[in-house]
């Protein structure tokens, strides 16, 4: 049922591959980052906080992995970066979704959910 091709959900080409050192598999992190940005443009710190709050603290996102994911997504064209001014009046780099990113989120979200359902089904029946 669940096959390798869904995971990581999207082949990443032309991008520097991550080395390691993440609690989350980076494909998953990508989809989470994209999801975070659907609300509004955010800087890295805000995304980090958002992820922690939203998951109720379950997802311990390594900040290093988060930034790698952000820059990777930027290089892919899934998100765009702009310099803006933060809540406390400091220069901060804001990320926002591009149309490519929106499409990617949609695809990966579906793939991820299907994958989760499949894994769950396997675990239940076995």
């Amino acid at each position: 049922m669940a096959t390798i091709q869904v995971f990581p959900p999207r082949p990443v080409s032309n991008v520097i591959m991550p080395k390691s050192g993440s609690d989350l598999i980076y494909g998953t992190l990508n989809v989470l980052v994209l999801k975070a940005l659907t609300w509004q443009p955010m800087h890295g710190y805000a995304i980090s906080t958002w992820l922690r709050d939203r998951s109720g603290g379950t997802l311990q996102v390594d900040d290093a992995a988060l930034y790698k994911s952000l820059h990777r997504l930027e290089a892919q064209g899934a998100i765009d970066a702009e310099w803006g001014v933060s809540e406390n009046n400091r220069r901060a780099k804001y990320y926002k979704l591009t149309p490519i990113g929106r499409r990617q989120l949609r695809d990966e979200r579906t793939a991820w959910l299907e994958f989760a359902v499949a894994v769950t089904r396997v675990l239940r029946t076995a």
């Binding site: 520097i16 710190y45 290093a64 702009e82």
Partner: protein
């Protein structure tokens, strides 16, 4: 909070320069935020900082990773932006070129001529000099030639066999020697060029047969072995309709039957004119005696360990041993090893490179002209450029845009030029003398297209950069203030244009000098007396098959009968025959000894060119008798053996005595009887090899006393149309013997023209280039002077209003042109002296500094320049002062 999207571009460039700093700033912000969050939760500042770092994870790795990702993205953005800008520039350029179609057309055509001519000449150079020979691994093929104190020559069978047996340099070595042969049966008799070659000749070249085999078997090459033949694909297709059953069938050549062993592909046929290859055989019993029979050419393939230099040393060492062993014949024997490609094309290197250099000059002049046009256009566009600069376009950006425009223009010219080149190359190949080898390998293909593209790009940069820089040098605020109108006092632009014209004149001068020298050399060549008359004369070759005409007596009888028939043809005034035609590089030579002089070994004996002729040959050819008597019909087999010698021979060998009556014996023997005779007359020198080579000593033999079956040329002097005479002659020969065929039919005028076809071809081409150059240069001069007159119309108007005479105005304007041309000619003369030295070897009796040529060329160029600058000058003299002043 985030800035508006359109402001992004401004920031982005900064981001790229400091991607490192950007990542740094981002991380610092993150850590600071985390620290203040932790402090708010009650952490001590020190501990909070440590905790924030811990939570962040591998900072160093993330930093490196993010920087790399950013740089990658920046590069992509830059690339796509560059592409977008280029597309924009190209569109813009096309639009702006379309707006001025006259300018575009003139500029593109000028470039097309330059690029097209360069491409056409390059395709010739590539086909002849650069393309590898049509053989396997051709760089390993060499030719070995004998030298006997002189230029490279053919070799004797015995020496070649010794070289072949003793060398350590070649995988194999083949010999070849040419002859004419007549194919009979299955249609008209046809005389064809054949070569006798070693059995492994084509395997050395690495040529496989199209059908059958490309090598001869040992039975074929054995003395009196089986008779077989290899057929050229061209002959196979034209005469036998590509019949696959030809291989294995029998053909009749010179009355003997040969089995067809294979068909050789036309592109790999060598020598290129060969239609047939027969096995070369040599009587082993006579091998030892063959050291004075020098007639073989060779080709060999270097083995893995050998180089040309090592093979040369090897062969020279063997030759030195042979020289010691056989001093009588080979005392001065040496060998030269020459790469086959160089052997075939060596003599073409210099003329082709001279042509390539000449045509490059044409392109340079075309570039200068177009640059000039762009400068004029640039003046008109100053307003536009100034506005764009004011709106924030960077200088580099504008240069790029202008250069893109010249590139588009150049590409346009290049495209037309490529079409010119395709046509031009065809014309060149068709017009080229057939004596130039490898014409068949000249093609316009992808490689040539790549050359055109490269030349086009270089051309675009060449003529585009200077005007672009010139246009941007100007102070924009001034232009804006003048409202794009007052562009009168543009000293910088005017100087640039003068420099361009001086360069054009200088280039033209060099080219014209080169062409002038070739013309002068050629006219001197044409003034050389060939030693025979060429008008109203026709010649053709006739070979008698020895299988049928076995004895010399039969050969003599047949020729006598033939000549009678020739004389009977209406309109034929006289008819003669001789072995070989003058000026066709045909020669048979022998060493000789004069009776009564101290005997010497053969190696030391002088060599003479031997011609065998009928008595009527001399009056027919108009070869003048200087002293004594010519041949008569009584000089036959029963008569005393007689000889004629040439004037130069008499002067060289009998300087202080009368040559008449002296007895001469030659090395050429027949059944151990040497050729010999008494000198009975002295005739004028005949240029046998070519007009520019002084003939070697010449001896004439009476045909009836020493008949030969092959390589006979019959000459008819006629008052009638040559073609109808040929038809009659052909019919007469066929009636005498239907198995004979005549070949190489040509008027003597054509023979003479053909012998100088190469120098004429080079001269005509270089002259054509020079004419184009001078035309372009005169357009350039005209343009600059006309521009000057336009700019100074007001000043001229004032002068005329103040009473200046029209002639003084003309003088003032013309002086301007004369100054430029004088400088250009001066520089050109220096360049010509430096460059024409390189073509010294192409010149006949003419030094590369020939003062007459330089004087004439200067005169021509100055004249053209004067005309080109007078036209606008005369217009200046007619300026209406009132109009000119009102115009401002």
């Amino acid at each position: 909070m985030p800035p508006r999207p359109d402001v992004r571009r401004v920031f982005r460039l900064g981001l790229f320069r400091r991607t490192g700093a950007a990542v740094e700033e981002e991380f610092t912000f993150h850590l600071d935020m985390r620290v203040s969050e932790l402090i708010a939760q009650g952490w001590q500042p020190e501990a909070a900082r440590a905790e924030a770092r811990r939570q962040f994870g591998d900072l160093e790795d993330a930093r490196k990773y993010c920087k790399r990702a950013d740089e990658q993205r920046e590069r992509q953005t830059m690339r796509s932006e560059l592409w977008e800008e280029t597309v924009h520039d190209v569109r813009f350029a096309v639009r702006s070129l379309r707006r001025s179609p006259a300018f575009t057309l003139v500029a593109a055509l000028t470039l097309a001529i330059g690029i097209g001519a360069n491409t056409a000449i390059f395709s010739v150079v590539r086909g002849i000099l650069l393309r590898p020979l049509p053989f396997a691994d051709p760089s390993r093929l060499v030719v070995v030639a004998s030298t006997y104190h002189g230029p490279p020559d053919t070799s004797s069978p015995a020496n070649v066999y010794d070289w072949r047996a003793q060398n350590h340099s070649f995988t194999s070595m083949a010999v070849l020697t040419g002859h004419s042969t007549v194919l009979t049966g299955s249609g008209d008799s046809e005389q064809l060029r054949g070569y006798d070659v070693s059995g492994d000749f084509f395997s050395i070249l690495g040529v496989t047969a199209l059908r059958g085999s490309s090598v001869f078997t040992p039975e074929d090459t054995a003395w009196k072995g089986t008779k077989s033949v290899l057929v050229n694909e061209t002959l196979w297709r034209t005469r036998f309709g590509g019949d696959p059953k030809l291989v294995g069938s029998m053909l009749t050549f010179d009355g003997e039957r040969y089995r067809v062993a294979g068909v050789i592909p036309a592109r790999s046929a060598w020598p290129t004119k060969a239609m047939l290859w027969f096995p070369f055989t040599w009587d082993p019993a006579q091998l030892a005696d063959s050291r004075d029979a020098v007639f073989l050419r060779t080709v060999a393939r270097l083995n893995a360990g050998a180089t040309v230099a090592s093979a040369q040393a090897d062969l020279s060492a063997i030759s030195a041993r042979l020289a010691q062993l056989y001093p009588n014949n080979d005392a001065y024997l040496d060998a030269v090893v020459v790469p086959m490609h160089e052997w075939i094309t060596g003599s073409l290197r210099l003329p082709l490179l001279v042509l390539l250099g000449g045509v490059a000059f044409v392109l340079l002049i075309a570039c200068a002209n177009v640059a000039n046009l762009l400068l004029v256009r640039g003046v008109a566009r100053e307003g536009e450029l100034a506005v764009r600069t004011a709106l924030g376009a960077g200088r580099a950006r504008l240069v790029r845009q202008l250069v893109t425009e010249s590139m588009v223009l150049s590409l346009f010219g290049g495209a037309i030029g490529f079409v010119f080149a395709i046509v031009g190359t065809r014309v060149l190949v068709a017009a080229a003398p057939t004596s130039i080898p490898r014409l068949d390998s000249i093609r316009v293909d992808g490689g040539i297209l790549a050359f055109t593209v490269a030349v086009t790009a270089i051309t675009g940069a060449l003529f585009g950069l200077m005007p672009a820089r010139q246009m941007l040098r100007r102070d924009i605020s001034k232009t804006l203030r003048e409202g794009g109108r007052g562009v009168g006092q543009r000293a910088g632009s005017y100087r640039a244009r003068r420099v361009l014209v001086v360069a054009e004149v200088a280039f033209s001068m060099v080219l014209l000098t080169g062409a002038g020298l070739l013309i002068r050399s050629f006219s001197r060549l044409m003034r050389v007396d060939p030693g025979f008359r060429t008008d109203h004369s026709i010649s053709f070759a006739l070979n008698l098959p020895e299988a049928k005409y076995k004895s010399p007596e039969m050969q003599a009888a047949f020729l006598r009968g033939t000549m009678e028939r020739m004389r009977a043809i209406p309109g034929v005034q006289s008819a003669g025959a001789a072995m070989g035609m003058p000026l066709t590089s045909y020669g048979r030579s022998s060493h000789f000894a004069i009776a009564g002089r101290a005997p010497m070994k053969q190696s030391d004996e002088p060599e003479a060119e031997i011609r065998i002729a009928t008595p009527d040959y001399f009056p027919t050819m108009g070869i003048r008798l200087i002293r004594g008597r010519g041949f008569t019909p009584q000089d036959d087999a029963s008569g005393v053996r007689v000889l004629l010698i040439s004037d130069a021979t008499a002067k060289k060998f009998f300087p202080n005595e009368d040559a008449l009556g002296k007895h001469v014996t030659f090395g050429w023997t027949r059944h151990s009887v040497p050729l010999q005779g008494d000198i009975v007359g002295i005739v004028a020198d005949v240029k046998q090899t070519s007009l520019d080579v002084a003939p070697p000593p010449q001896f004439w033999i009476a045909y009836d006393q020493w008949p030969v079956p092959d390589d006979m040329s019959i000459v008819l002097h006629t008052t009638r149309d040559e073609q109808s005479v040929v038809a009659d002659a052909r019919r007469a020969i066929r009636e005498l013997d239907p198995d004979l065929a005549i070949a190489h039919v040509a008027t003597l005028d054509n023979v003479l023209a053909e012998s100088v076809a190469q120098p004429r071809f080079y001269m005509m081409l270089l002259t054509a280039f020079a004419v184009v150059a001078i035309l372009l240069a005169s357009i350039g001069i005209y343009g600059v002077i006309a521009y000057l007159v336009g700019q100074r119309a007001r000043e001229i108007g004032i002068r005329i209003a103040l009473g200046a005479s029209p002639s003084s105005v003309v003088r003032m304007v013309v002086n301007e042109g004369v100054a430029m041309v004088a400088i250009g000619i001066g520089i050109g003369i220096v360049g010509a002296i430096a460059l024409t030295r390189l073509m010294h070897a192409l010149l006949f009796n003419t030094t590369s500094t020939d003062p007459m040529t330089y004087a004439l060329v200067t005169l021509v160029l100055a004249g053209v320049a004067l005309v080109a600058s007078s036209v606008p000058a005369l217009r200046a003299a007619n300026v209406d002062p009132a109009l000119a002043m009102r115009a401002e």
